[in-house]
Structure formats: structure tokens, C-alpha cells
């Protein structure tokens, strides 16, 4: 087949991408020559939102950072706050966290 470069937009909505992601492709038949990802469709400005919330108000929002590992995002956030504030949590809480993060 003769060479013919085609510009193709894949996404932002596409069944093979989990979220929304647009790929600007330059293709020659089945071969991808160049690819430029366009992202930000799920950017919700959380950092700005968090500027005006208390630490505990932020915890449920960290769930939404990664819907496949909500608890891991909780954990990352609370560990940072605890380090900042010098808080040590009870042993039972530490164990529960390990269990939840491993599941």
C-alpha cells in the first residue's frame, strides 16, 4: 500500500483508555509515526480547592485522585500531615492501614 500519512484523533472518549485522554496521532496505515498526548480533561483543581480546607476535610477528596486505589491516596495524604504535625497514631491504626493498603 502506498505511503499516506493521516492525522488521527484518538479520544478524548475512547473505550481503550480508562479516563479521558486524547492522543493526536500521525499514522501511516497501521504504523504510528508521531504521537502527542493531550491531557487535563479530568483536572479538577484539587490543590486550589485544598487551600481553603482543613486537613480532615481534605481526606475524602484524596479518594478521588485514583479510583482504583482510593485508600492508598488517603494514606499518602495523612502520612504527610502526620509528619508535618508530629503525630504518631496507635499501633492498631498502623496495622489497619497496612491491611487496607495491601488489599
Amino acid at each position: 500500500m502506498a505511503f499516506k500519512e493521516i492525522a488521527l484523533n484518538m479520544g478524548p472518549q475512547h473505550p481503550s483508555t480508562h479516563g479521558v485522554l486524547r492522543l493526536k496521532l500521525a499514522v501511516d496505515n497501521e504504523v504510528v509515526l508521531r504521537l502527542e498526548p493531550v491531557l487535563g480533561y479530568l483536572h479538577r483543581g484539587m490543590e486550589k480547592l485544598w487551600e481553603n480546607l482543613t486537613y480532615t476535610q481534605i481526606v475524602p477528596l484524596t479518594d478521588r485522585l485514583d479510583y482504583l486505589a482510593a485508600l492508598s491516596s488517603n494514606l499518602g495524604f495523612v502520612l504527610a500531615v502526620e509528619k508535618l504535625a508530629g503525630i504518631e497514631i496507635p499501633k492498631r491504626g498502623q496495622v489497619l492501614r497496612v491491611v487496607l493498603a495491601e488489599l
Partner: protein, 165 residues
């Protein structure tokens, strides 16, 4: 979590080597809770980052963080700062390099040192409006190209501007 740099010998070593190699580069250091931040001067930034990557084993630039102290920053000090979070896989050592800057200045891009700086610098450009000279394609990464302003600046309204975005 030590608050004294003497209790973190590996980080102390990096700082000593850096100060020996670039006596003029280091403007200060902050050490708290086991984390070291080395403040460097803009002129030395590229040399310091390249040295850390090429000769000190800091193979990964994990993140770049923008910082805005707000429009009322005291005269004589700079309003913005950019922090480079670097990582040495060999002994799992983390280090922060900080540089102060202004909107009117362009920092040298770190893309030629770590490829991961590409998107990180675009994010800081998007959110804070800071520019990086030598970046291969500095444009907004998350927000729409038609968006005006830089939302992580302290003077950007928290409730938005009601302009359709």
C-alpha cells in the same frame, strides 16, 4: 525523623560534595524531619542539577513543585520558588533543590537533564505562569489553551471567576 543534619550522614555528604564542587552555588539549606532542601542560585541551577544527575546518581526527577508567596512578598525577596524533588535509587535517597524566581525571569529548563522535567515544567507554567528557557514546547498541560491566568497563584480567586471555565 531527625531535625539535625548531622543525623543524616548521607544527605550531609551530598551537601558537602556539592559545596566543594560549586562554592558559589549554595544559597542556604533547610533540614527538617529528615528532609534536606538545598537552596541554590539561579546562575548555578543547571550545573548543580546536572552534577546531581550525572555524578551523584540522582537518576530520577520525581516531581517539580511551584511555590507562590503571594503578591505582597517583601521587597528584596522573590515571590516564586521552584523545587526539584530528586531521587537516588542506589540508596533510596531523596533530596530537594530549591531556586527562587520571579515571573519576569525564565529559569533554565531541566529537560536536557531529566526527561520527566518536560511535563513538570509545563505544569508549573500552566499553574504559576513561570517560564523555562530551552523547553522544547512550553504550553499549558491541564488547562484549556484559552484559559487566562494561572490558578495556583495566591491572588487567583478561590471560588473561580465565573467566566465559563
Amino acid at each position: 525523623m531527625p531535625d539535625n543534619l548531622a543525623d543524616a550522614p548521607r544527605l550531609e555528604d551530598v551537601l558537602r560534595v556539592l559545596e566543594g564542587r560549586f562554592p558559589e552555588a549554595v544559597a542556604g539549606r533547610d533540614f527538617a524531619k529528615g528532609e534536606l532542601t538545598i537552596r541554590v542560585r539561579t546562575e548555578s541551577l543547571t550545573d548543580v542539577l546536572r552534577f546531581l544527575q550525572a555524578e551523584q546518581g540522582f537518576a530520577a526527577l520525581q516531581d517539580m513543585i511551584g511555590l507562590d508567596r503571594g503578591p505582597e512578598t517583601a521587597a528584596g525577596s522573590k515571590r516564586f520558588a521552584v523545587l526539584y524533588q530528586v531521587y537516588r535509587p542506589a540508596d533510596r535517597l531523596r533530596l530537594r533543590v530549591a531556586v527562587e524566581t520571579e515571573e519576569s525571569e525564565a529559569l533554565p529548563s531541566a529537560v536536557s537533564i531529566w526527561k520527566s522535567a518536560d511535563w513538570a515544567e509545563r505544569e508549573i507554567f500552566d499553574m504559576f505562569g513561570l517560564r523555562f528557557s530551552g523547553h522544547p514546547g512550553l504550553k499549558r498541560i491541564y488547562l484549556d489553551e484559552a484559559f487566562e491566568g494561572h490558578p495556583l497563584r495566591k491572588d487567583f480567586p478561590l471560588g473561580g471567576r465565573g467566566d465559563g471555565f
